[in-house]
């Protein structure tokens, strides 16, 4: 199922996210997805997230697909040139993996192989253009594809709470013009900023899914504030996590914060992207707390 079809049905679309392991043992990942992530429409699979060498996104997507899930294949420009990127898009379509999230990717120096050579032959905008070209039957160089054409729901990312929203909106518009079909946002904890952002972004006419990381501790929140671009967690939320450490550790506080923020933002967006960072079992709890239940 293409996510674009769900948006077309005016469904509030919900996606989860898993990160492949550093190795080939993915039974735990699949077991957790089977047990806890049946409640979402699709599951993103990160592509060597934070420049850490991991099992491939495409292989993990295929395993999830075989388990009856709808995967979203994340693809970054850091590690592949345009030949490999387009080839991997075709490979995904060949497997029946048609939902993709196309990103530039963190720089290699941030990961566990900092000396590796970054590629960035394409960027997120030109990668979306490449996917759109493949759908029309051509590669980026205008060479014709043979036979049945691939179809994609082409996802992209944006950070509504970035310290420079104009820069974000400029790039978002470039992605829309390149053919982006939907957006997933960086995690949001300041509804007012998100609502201000959506006042402009909704004019682009492309569905936006609110991003949400379930916070596990005050230290995690402080770390994200310091190190993760586009993330801004207000002191009040950090205090909330600090005040009752047992409640934070058990996930009650994190789930409460997530549902509260989502409830404030839900009417302004078209979907939700939950990044549980291993807390797959909390996803259903977050969804249960939503004011407006899904109209599925």
């Amino acid at each position: 199922m293409l996510l674009t079809e769900l948006f077309g049905q005016r469904k509030f679309v919900i996606t989860g996210e898993v990160g492949p392991p550093k190795g080939i043992q993915i039974n735990d990942l699949l077991h957790s997805a089977d047990k806890h992530l049946r409640c979402v429409d699709a599951i993103n699979v990160t592509d060597c997230q934070a420049s850490m060498m991991k099992l491939g996104s495409l292989a993990t997507c295929k395993a999830l697909l075989d388990h009856g899930h709808t995967p979203v294949f994340q693809l970054v420009c850091r590690d592949r040139n345009r030949i490999a990127l387009q080839s991997d898009l075709l490979s995904a379509a060949f497997f029946g993996i048609n939902n993709v999230l196309l990103l530039t990717g963190d720089h290699t120096t941030l990961g566990d192989a900092p000396e590796s050579k970054p590629v960035y032959d394409l960027d997120s905008v030109s990668l979306i253009q490449a996917a759109a070209a493949l759908e029309k039957g051509f590669d980026l160089n205008g060479n014709k594809l043979e036979g049945e054409l691939p179809r994609f729901a082409k996802g992209a990312v944006v950070s509504p709470c970035s310290d420079n929203v104009d820069v974000q909106l400029f790039k978002m518009l470039a992605k829309v013009n390149a053919g982006a079909d939907f957006f997933q946002t960086q995690t949001v904890y300041e509804p007012e900023k998100f609502i201000d952002f959506m006042e402009i972004a909704s004019g682009f006419g492309v569905p936006v899914m609110l991003g949400m990381v379930i916070l596990k501790s005050a230290n995690m929140a402080r770390f994200m504030n310091k190190n993760i671009a586009g993330v801004s967690i207000p002191q009040g939320i950090i205090d909330e996590l600090d005040n009752d450490k047992d409640k934070a550790r058990s996930g009650v506080t994190g789930v409460n914060i997530a549902t509260r923020v989502i409830n404030e933002c839900q009417e302004f967006c078209q979907g939700l992207h939950i990044m549980p960072m291993g807390w797959d079992d909390k996803v259903a709890e977050v969804l249960t707390g939503l004011k407006n239940k899904r109209n599925s």
């Binding site: 530039t104 420079n164 820069v167 671009a229």
Partner: protein, 183 residues
């Protein structure tokens, strides 16, 4: 060796304004820029479209030298609506850092191996063959972004600083700041 080629004439004509200054850099000894006849033709075509001033110089990438050039030509440069530059990207960026009016490149610099000229400049040009400076407030996104992104910022910058090195300002944030300051 440095090789430049003129941008299409239509594109160059779209850049001219009422008072246009054309600066041609002949600095690097082994410059293969468009030949004199092509430049003379271009000058003639520009004269018919704008109030044109023409300056031939060398090493516009060299800050102290450029400062003198601007002082010596202050009457025309201070009055200019736009400055068109025939030089490598480093030259265009150095001029744009000095003046307040828009500065546009009228050529693309072609990458060649080996010595590329003097360029003792904080600005760089890698000769990407499709100069982006006219769309990016004369700050090169290829050399000022560690990922060389030409379609906008990657989203990794925090407080305007690059995700790779927090001592470097994000090139795309600089581009936006300059656009904002020129509004």
């Amino acid at each position: 060796m440095l090789v430049t080629k003129l941008k299409p004439l239509d594109e160059i004509f779209s850049l001219v304004q009422k008072k246009t200054v054309l600066i041609c850099c002949e600095g690097c000894r082994d410059v293969h820029s468009p030949d004199d006849r092509a430049i003379a033709t271009l000058r003639g075509l520009l004269f018919s479209r704008t109030d044109l001033s023409f300056v031939v110089t060398s090493y516009v990438c060299y800050r102290e030298h450029l400062e003198l050039l601007i002082q010596n030509n202050a009457s025309i440069i201070d009055d200019a609506d736009v400055i068109l530059v025939l030089s490598c990207g480093a030259g265009v960026q150095t001029i744009a850092d000095f003046v307040s009016c828009p500065v546009y490149s009228i050529c693309d610099t072609i990458s060649l191996p080996g010595y590329q000229g003097l360029t003792p400049s904080e600005f760089n040009c890698i000769g990407c063959e499709s100069c982006h400076l006219n769309k990016t407030a004369s700050i090169c996104p290829v050399t000022s972004c560690v990922k060389g992104l030409v379609n906008g910022a990657c989203g990794g910058a925090k407080n305007g600083m690059c995700e790779v090195d927090v001592s470097i300002e994000c090139g795309w944030v600089r581009i936006f700041e300059r656009v904002e300051s020129r509004k």
